[in-house]
Amino acid sequence: MAIVLTETTKADVPSNQADALWLNSTDVEAATGWTLKPEGFCQGDICVPIPPGREAEFAKDDQVNVSTFWAHMNKPAVASEAGDVWFLGEGAESRNDTLLSLEAPDFTLPDLEGNMHSLTDFRGKRVLLATWASW
């Protein structure tokens, strides 16, 4: 088995190779929220077409090459040496678009007791989001 992590999700998927993350249609949706459709790799209203002539690199039978799609979308996909843990990140362009929209990106984090808090819980109040660390 391998583990696929994103900033908000964790999914166990069948064992994979070290240099590519091939997932079937069920696993790809569970692990990433994206699905393979005839028009391309899709999430919500967004579909990223497979580049013509490169079909075999991106999909074959019921399998999707998620790491290749991620790279094609200019998003970082990184794996442990054995390929048993993957992290699928957000790309710089998407981050910059969000920050320039001025809508504060939401997050959910625990307090000392493990209670979860989201930024959106504080809607209606002004929020000073200040960071610090023990180091």
Binding site: S80, L99, L109, D111, L128
Partner: protein, 202 residues
């Protein structure tokens, strides 16, 4: 931002804050808001709109003024640092009282102009860091250390990544030789932009 809850616990329990304090083991906030060091802050209004993007929160770049012989900062440097802190805290209080009428709130164009731009390399560093944190917690420290070294190369300006992953003193503070080497290697370079705020010392 700390590797685990227990590193943060004594600080939070001693401060006993009345506001919500969260533990960010994966530096999610660094990734979302393009932060590079602590303390940094973002001002978010009642509607979830950023009115002051990521900026250093009441500190200024005084580290290179540290007097190694005396083992301390000079009174002049400390006075300047105190002035920066007081100015920032005063601005936060002004915003708390006056909301969108506060003179410290940026309009949309000014707020956008102050957003620090993320690069592909920074985005890759954050993804690599989060993979490293996962492996670190699983006890795969050699693999994690190799990934953290890669993160420090990819995003050298991130002292959050550097200080989280470098050797710590017995006090738990990352102020060893490597840290001071990194500070001094900046030379005359400004580490991050001064806070754009009336009354803030350079």
């Amino acid at each position: 931002m700390d590797a685990d809850v227990e590193a943060a616990r004594p600080w939070i329990e001693n401060a006993n804050p009345t506001y919500v304090t969260l533990i960010d083991r994966n530096h999610v906030l660094s990734s979302l808001y393009n932060m590079v060091n602590v303390p940094q802050a973002v001002w978010i209004d009642e509607n979830g709109i950023v009115v002051r993007p990521t900026e250093t929160a009441g500190s200024i770049d005084i580290l290179r003024d540290f007097d190694f012989e005396a083992g301390a900062f000079s009174p002049e440097v400390l006075e300047k640092a105190g002035e920066a802190k007081n100015t920032y805290v005063g601005a936060v209080k002004d915003w708390a009282i006056n909301g969108s009428d506060s003179r410290y709130v940026f309009d949309a164009d000014a707020a956008r102009a102050h957003v620090p731009a993320m690069t592909d390399q920074i985005a890759l560093a954050h993804a690599t860091f989060q993979l490293g944190q996962h492996l670190f917690r699983e006890g795969r420290t050699d693999e994690a250390d190799a990934l953290f070294a890669r993160c420090r190369e990819l995003h050298p300006a991130s002292w959050n990544i550097f200080r989280q992953t470098t050797e710590k003193e017995e006090t738990g503070i990352a102020v060893g030789e490597e840290f001071w080497g990194k500070v001094m290697s900046l030379g005359d370079e400004q580490y991050y932009a001064s806070v754009d705020m009336d009354g803030m010392p350079d």
